[in-house]
């Protein structure tokens, strides 16, 4: 039965379908229609800026035959008189998944899958440039209707799955035809994203940075493949090469991911069109800096339901601000001359799209820009301006007929024509009865107001000042309205009115009274009160200024370098000069200008530091804050990934770290694999964007790891298939990779030494980012900091390094370093350790808090690190523990969080101590900095004050006030009937070495 129905449905459809001229026809005679359709007396937006006040649009064979104010209408025309209505080009959504089913998810399994599922394609399942939407696409009637009702005529649909998603197809939403006519371009653009395919379980990448590294390597591989260097076939790379001329649409979905995508594109001279997240306004300067074109969603958050103050209090300022400010996103982009198209992709319901479009305009988006973002811009970004986007001659006849300004709330969208085929949204014949009336019935008089959308009209009835509940329907010209004249809800006594509306103006019809008798009624329309109504339209609430980052404790403007003179401080130099009493320190141009007594400087901000202590900023050698991902666990080596790709400038822990006097951190990759990823060394310049945080003098580091984490000891019983599973295997991983890196370098050296003629006859080696990174280590250009616990493996790694003629730079954690301190000294490696952590897993059974002191006594450069976003706020206390455990001197203890980590990071010529000429990264402490009672009062980076204890307290008060104001605004919104959402409280995950998160959101 089901099958029969399907066949019937197909047959039913095919009757009205367009058929191509060369197709045989068996259901009747062959017909052709070359008539014209002429739309006259219309205000025609030929383009958003070329507007004909009273013109004719002539359509033939689905295209615009002519448009203008004096077009002569041919005889074989069906003429439609629009009586002053408006015609707009219909909208284009260039980022859609219309008509494409979600991919099938594979069976779940606890055992990870490391290899690709496919053969003949790229080694990673998440790279699928060979996918083509046009092959998977089927016309979805219901969705098409929704899109047409929302004003869209053409969509660029794609398979919304995977990192490289293949090409999208440009589809006209023409209901009365077949795909052969609907497909405007079968490969309109290539789509990319940072998200893995749901169709594959292949582990790599397990993180955002892995996805970025994968894309990078893939582009190198494509270049190499294209040059004919590969032995085998790779259908993915071939497709990628083929797709290269297409517009490249990168679905980034968030302001920082926008920047990440753009940075990647820059490396390969690719101008991605970036699909944003709607929060671009929060980092508008950086977005402008990308010089990219954008596709912007209108996914404004609903107000939160704040009726429960307890829950309301849990909603973060960040979320509240986003609610308040997000509708300004399109306006801010437009004002900053960012080219953007608008998409409905992120609107779960298309009715939200329309409402949000009007909202964006109410919040200041210029109407012409809005129309361009929906028509000409997407057409031009897709290189299809000759086909779609305007109503110039020769373009597809894709247009909207409206009662007036399409961006006006009261305007009715009547028809959406696609390829010359009509789709009715609202019946054009429906007479507009909206307005204010005096209803007279049964010798009673009421005030009647009809408003809202014409097809979903709303009635408001009043008798004198009393509101009376009423219900209205208005369809196919018939109006029905009923109400209870007594206004008494208990009595089911209604007056029912009906009328077939013939013309605008006064209304009249029949009524059935409460007693069942029939009588006539009239409604006399009041004279124009339009103006009064306009003032009623939603007033735009106050929009809060954006801060950097746009959340609690964010800054309205970035701190500036100052000339500062600290007077009479106790100065902990972390140099041979030791601790200086009653000393002045002058900061100028971001550097320490001079130190001494009785210093003076004109124009300097004087800070009286009497009784206070001034130190260099704390440096945390091992941190995992301020990153969107920490571990790439998909392979046992991930030297190709770098934390620099995923620095998260919006992390509250940056500010919290400043409050503990920390100024520089190394964000390390985690310990999920023996060869981890490259580090990011940043200064905690709260408010800066990710690039601004990267320390310009930074050295090159990579994280390695040993022990339980890399052999997956505590990952669960199913995680036993990745090599290595023992410490024995770990050694082999290192030896294997370094040997390969060595051979790789030699291959390149040999190849580069060839003459150019020989080169052209020789296959070039494959450029391998992972091997390049490892070769840097062998060349002593990049340094290893290695997560390490027990002595056997510590010793092992030093021996492996020695075999390959380089040194390990730092052992981090290094809990049993005290057992091999002599060997470490001999090797020349430093140690960066916890002060007192132990007993959390088997391999830390012999960890002792005396570790730092013993290593130090053996002449090793020792730092105290955190590996923890909480502990890093009090590294001064952690350093002080070395005094208790092992009897370090105070001066040496302090060096363990300042100059020693600077040395380990090869940055000691710039930071880590107070010395003339060095960066003015300083902390002013209320007390002895190693004391538990010390509070960081000011934290300064390069001469700019990034944290001030008192200002933090003031900021907290301000946060409370702002939240209170926003809550009141949300309550008002709710009372005005605006949709609200249940409060959800965002929780940030604190990152450690073993955190496995794809991307923090």
């Amino acid at each position: 039965m089901k099958i029969k129905l399907c066949i019937l449905a197909l047959f039913g459809c095919s009757l009205s379908l367009f058929s191509q001229e060369y197709f045989p026809q068996n259901d009747g005679v062959k017909t052709e229609n070359s008539n014209y359709t002429a739309f006259k007396n219309a205000k025609i937006y030929v383009t958003p800026t070329n507007i004909i006040e009273n013109g004719v649009l002539l359509v033939q064979n689905g295209k615009v035959a002519a448009v203008g104010s004096s077009v002569s209408i041919p005889e074989n025309s069906v003429t439609i008189d629009l009586n002053g209505k408006s015609i707009y080009p219909s909208f284009i959504d260039m980022c859609s998944d219309f008509g494409i089913l979600a991919p099938k998810e594979p069976q779940k399994s606890n055992t990870p899958q490391y290899d690709a599922s496919r053969e003949g394609y790229y080694w990673n399942d998440h790279v699928m440039p060979e996918n083509r939407a046009v092959e998977k696409f089927s016309f979805e009637e219901k969705r098409a209707k929704e899109l047409l009702d929302a004003g869209f005529g053409v969509v660029n649909t794609h398979i919304s799955d995977g990192i490289i998603r293949g090409s999208g197809a440009l589809i006209a939403l023409n209901e009365n035809t077949t795909n052969s006519e609907r497909i405007i371009a079968e490969d309109a653009a290539q789509f990319l994203s940072f998200e893995k395919s749901k169709a594959s379980r292949q582990a790599y990448p397990t993180s955002l940075m892995g996805a970025i590294a994968l894309l990078r390597q893939m582009y190198f591989d494509a270049q190499w493949y294209e040059a004919g260097n590969a032995e085998g076939k790779d259908l993915s790379l071939e497709a990628l090469i083929k797709n290269r001329p297409l517009p490249q649409i990168f679905i980034a979905d968030d302001k920082l991911n926008d920047l990440r995508a753009d940075n990647l594109g820059d490396e390969f001279k690719l101008n991605y069109i970036i699909k944003g997240g709607g929060n671009e306004f929060e980092r508008i300067d950086e977005i402008v800096g990308t010089k990219a074109s954008y596709i912007i969603p209108l996914n404004f958050p609903d107000a939160y339901d704040v009726t429960d103050p307890y829950m309301a209090n849990k909603i973060s300022l960040e979320e509240m601000l986003l609610w308040n400010q997000a509708p300004t996103n399109p306006k801010v982009l437009a004002e900053n001359n960012v080219t953007f198209a608008i998409t409905a992709k992120d609107n779960k319901k298309l009715t939200d799209f329309k409402a949000n479009l009007l909202k964006a305009i109410a919040y200041g988006l210029d109407k012409t820009t809005a129309l361009e973002a929906l028509t000409t811009i997407p057409a031009s970004l897709l290189n299809e301006s000759d086909e779609i986007g305007t109503l110039e001659k020769g373009r597809y006849a894709n247009f909207l007929i409206t009662s007036g300004d399409i961006f006006d709330k009261e305007t009715t969208l009547y028809e959406n024509w696609v390829q010359g085929n009509k789709h009715v949204v609202n019946n054009m014949e429906t007479i507009d009865i909206r307005g204010e009336y005096t209803l007279n019935i049964n010798s009673e008089s009421y005030a009647l107001s009809l408003s809202g959308e014409l097809e979903k009209i709303k009635s408001e009835l009043k008798k004198g000042a009393t509101k009376i509940a009423s219900n209205i329907t208005y369809q196919n010209g018939w109006l029905h309205l009923f109400f209870n004249p007594n206004g008494d809800a208990d009595k089911d006594q209604f007056i029912r009115l009906s009328s077939l509306i013939a013309s605008e103006g006064n209304l009249k019809g029949e009524a059935v009274l409460t007693n069942g008798n029939t009588t006539n009624w009239t409604a006399i329309k009041k004279t124009s009160q339009e103006k009064e109504k306009e003032t009623e339209t939603d007033e735009i609430p106050k929009v809060f200024p954006v801060t950097y980052p746009n959340k609690a404790f964010g800054l309205k403007s970035l701190p500036q370098q100052q000339t500062i003179l600290f007077k009479n401080a106790t100065v902990w130099t972390s140099e041979d000069t030791g601790i200086l009493q009653n000393t002045d320190v002058l900061v100028k141009n971001g550097k320490i200008a001079s130190m001494g007594t009785n210093l003076s400087a004109s124009g300097a901000k004087i800070i009286d530091a009497t009784g206070k202590h001034l130190t260099a900023g704390i440096i945390d050698e091992h941190s995992h804050i301020a990153a969107a991902a920490i571990n790439e666990a998909g392979h046992n080596s991930s030297a190709e990934v770098t934390i620099e790709d995923v620095v998260n400038s919006e992390d509250a822990d940056i500010y919290r770290n400043l409050s503990g006097g920390v100024t520089t951190i190394q964000i390390l990759h985690g310990s999920a694999n023996p060869i981890g990823g490259r580090s990011a060394i940043i200064k905690l310049k709260w408010g800066e964007d990710p690039t601004g945080l990267l320390y310009k003098e930074r050295s090159k580091f990579i994280k390695f790891a040993l022990g339980e984490n890399v052999k997956q000891s505590n990952w669960g019983a199913s995680q036993t298939i990745r090599f290595p599973q023992t410490r024995m295997g770990v050694e082999q991983v290192f030896t294997d990779y370094f040997q390969r890196a060595k051979e790789y370098s030699e291959q390149w050296k040999a190849y580069n030494a060839l003459s150019s003629s020989k080169k052209s006859r020789t296959k070039a080696p494959r450029y391998d980012v992972e091997m390049e990174t490892l070769a840097e280590i062998l060349n002593k250009e990049r340094f290893i900091t290695c997560h390490s616990y027990v002595q056997s493996e510590i010793n092992m790694l030093m021996k492996v390094a020695e075999k390959f003629d380089f040194n390990i730079n730092t052992f981090t954690h290094i809990l049993e370093g005290y057992k091999v301190a002599d060997k470490m000294k001999e090797h020349g490696v430093g140690g960066s350790t916890f002060s007192d952590w132990w007993a959390y897993k088997f391999e830390v059974n012999d960890a002792i808090p005396y570790n730092a002191a013993i290593m130090h006594d053996q002449g090793i450069t020792v730092a105290i690190n955190s590996d923890d976003g909480e502990m890093s706020r009090r590294l001064n206390q952690e350093a002080a523990k070395t005094i208790k455990y092992g009897g370090m001197s105070e001066e040496e203890a302090w060096k363990m969080v300042t100059i020693n980590p600077a040395k380990l990071l090869h940055l000691d010529t710039h930071i880590g101590s107070i010395k003339e000429g060095k960066d003015a990264d300083l902390v002013l402490w209320s007390d002895h900095p190693l004391s538990v009672y010390a509070i960081a009062e000011k934290t300064i980076i390069e001469g700019a004050v990034y944290y001030d204890y008192e200002q933090m307290q003031e900021a907290e008060t301000l946060i409370r006030q702002e939240k209170n104001e926003l809550v009141n605004m949300m309550i008002r919104a709710k009372n005005n009937g605006v949709k609200t959402q249940a409060p959800k409280v965002k929780e940030d995950e604190a990152f450690h070495c073993n955190t496995l998160i794809y991307q923090l959101k």
Binding site: A839, N845, Y850, V932, M952
Partner: protein, 431 residues
């Protein structure tokens, strides 16, 4: 052969590295003199002396007023500081040895209403982690089970014992309850938003606990046949011999918990955690409900919170008249409990007098655990559980402990860790 010898050597050293032998009972009277004595009740005696005999304190006062001849042993502690042994409430010390090794984990029994589950019998008096508390002055703890709605019953122990019976100071002092949360986390593996959202089962969960306690109360009033172990275990709550420690953080939840206790007829309750307790401090103070304040060394619970709130909480509550101690629970809580004095120091840095901060982990802790007649302050008649520090014991620089006594017994300050330290110092020293 060489390897065998090496293995044998390793085995021997492992035996050597076993736990410290508990000290024998005090046989001679001891006087420590010349030190600054931190009584534990907020006061200090400068140039004071403490004498003790048979495990009990016999003298506290000025060093000049004491007759040294009355004591067999006199310890000169001029310039040093004496503190009562610090007490860690709500601790899982001795219940777990190595976090990641499941076989060593005995803190959380399955089930949800478990007042009959008693921590004491699983307390490992020979834990290497426990002994590492002592060199920092943490000499006692309330060993507490975790998990469930009613986690079980805690006991107060001292940290120098042959076995759990020896260790006990107060057996089954309190029942611990995890108050339901009015919010719950989304389960991302079920496609839910991972953030917090209202817990629609909140009232139901509270009702479940009330129902259980009402049933228990009815059971206890009857002939108790057949026997019901969980009901029976709640007896102390209703006759006032046991306290109910309610682990609860949110402002709403704390308020609900206080009302719940009144309704259930439970007089002695204690709030553990209390992240937002400062917002209902009036309610807590007026009902004389103490708070075991979450350790300051944790991140603020939201981005919007004063970033020093966790450090300010004890002082905010104390100023409002709430009796406070410190809750060391949280990430890596056991090994970190040796930092208890530094938690107190951190609270002192943000608005609290130093002696008041000492009080958090001495007298206040003893009062809250109901062991203040025995321990918590240096006063005559109480256990001689105290230690001598080179300086301020709340500051890591000066928390250097030369002597510690538990019930007058001169306990070892060596640990697995100090022995390794010495072993390797010696190794390098010999070179």
């Amino acid at each position: 052969m060489k390897n065998l010898i090496y293995i044998a050597f390793l085995m021997i050293t492992h035996i050597i590295l076993a736990q410290q032998t508990p000290a024998s009972p005090q046989t001679t009277s001891i006087l420590i003199t010349g030190a600054t004595i931190h009584i534990g009740n907020g006061t200090v005696v400068e140039n004071g002396a403490v004498g003790f005999n048979d495990g009990k304190i016999t003298y506290v006062g000025s060093a000049s007023a004491v007759d040294k001849n009355e004591f067999s042993q006199v310890i000169d502690a001029v310039g040093k500081h004496i503190y009562p042994g610090f007490i860690a409430l709500n601790s899982t010390l001795g219940l777990v040895e190595i976090d990641a090794v499941r076989a060593t984990d005995d803190e959380d029994e399955i089930g949800s209403l478990l007042p009959h589950i008693r921590s004491l019998i699983a307390y490992n008096a020979e834990s290497k982690v426990v002994e590492s508390m002592r060199p920092n002055g943490v000499l006692m703890g309330q060993v507490t089970p975790r998990g469930g709605s009613i986690s079980g019953t805690s006991s107060v122990v001292q940290f120098d014992a042959w076995n759990w019976e020896d260790a006990a100071i107060k057996v089954d002092d309190a029942i611990h309850m995890n108050w339901p949360n009015s919010l719950k986390r989304g389960r991302p593996w079920r496609g839910e938003d991972p953030g917090l959202k209202p817990n629609e089962d909140y009232t139901k969960e509270i009702d479940g606990i009330i129902h259980f306690l009402m049933e228990a109360k009815a059971y206890l009033a009857g002939n108790q046949n057949p026997r019901n172990l969980p009901y029976e275990a709640t007896k102390g709550l209703f006759d006032g011999t046991q306290k109910l420690f309610i682990h609860v953080d949110g402002k709403r939840e704390i308020t609900d918990a206080v009302n719940f206790a009144k309704k259930a007829g439970i007089e002695k309750i204690v709030v553990v955690g209390g992240d937002q307790a400062d917002e209902v401090s009036g309610l807590l103070a007026s009902n004389n409900i103490p708070v075991v304040v979450k350790r300051p060394h944790r991140l603020p619970s939201s981005d919007d919170e004063n970033i020093k709130h966790t450090f300010m909480l004890a002082s905010l509550l104390s100023k409002a008249g709430v009796l406070c101690s410190i809750d060391p629970s949280g990430s890596m809580e056991r090994m970190n409990t040796r930092n208890l004095p530094f938690y107190a120091g951190s609270f002192a840095a943000y608005g609290m007098a130093k002696e008041q901060a000492v009080q958090l982990i001495t007298e206040n802790a003893a009062k809250i655990a109901g062991v203040d007649k025995l321990v918590g302050t240096i006063e005559t008649g109480k256990d001689a559980t105290l230690f001598i520090s080179e300086g301020d014991a709340l500051d890591m620089r000066t928390n250097i402990i030369s002597k510690a006594y538990i019930q007058g017994r001169d306990i070892s300050l060596e640990t697995h860790q100090t022995e390794l330290w010495k072993r390797y110092t010696e190794k390098y020293g010999k070179k």
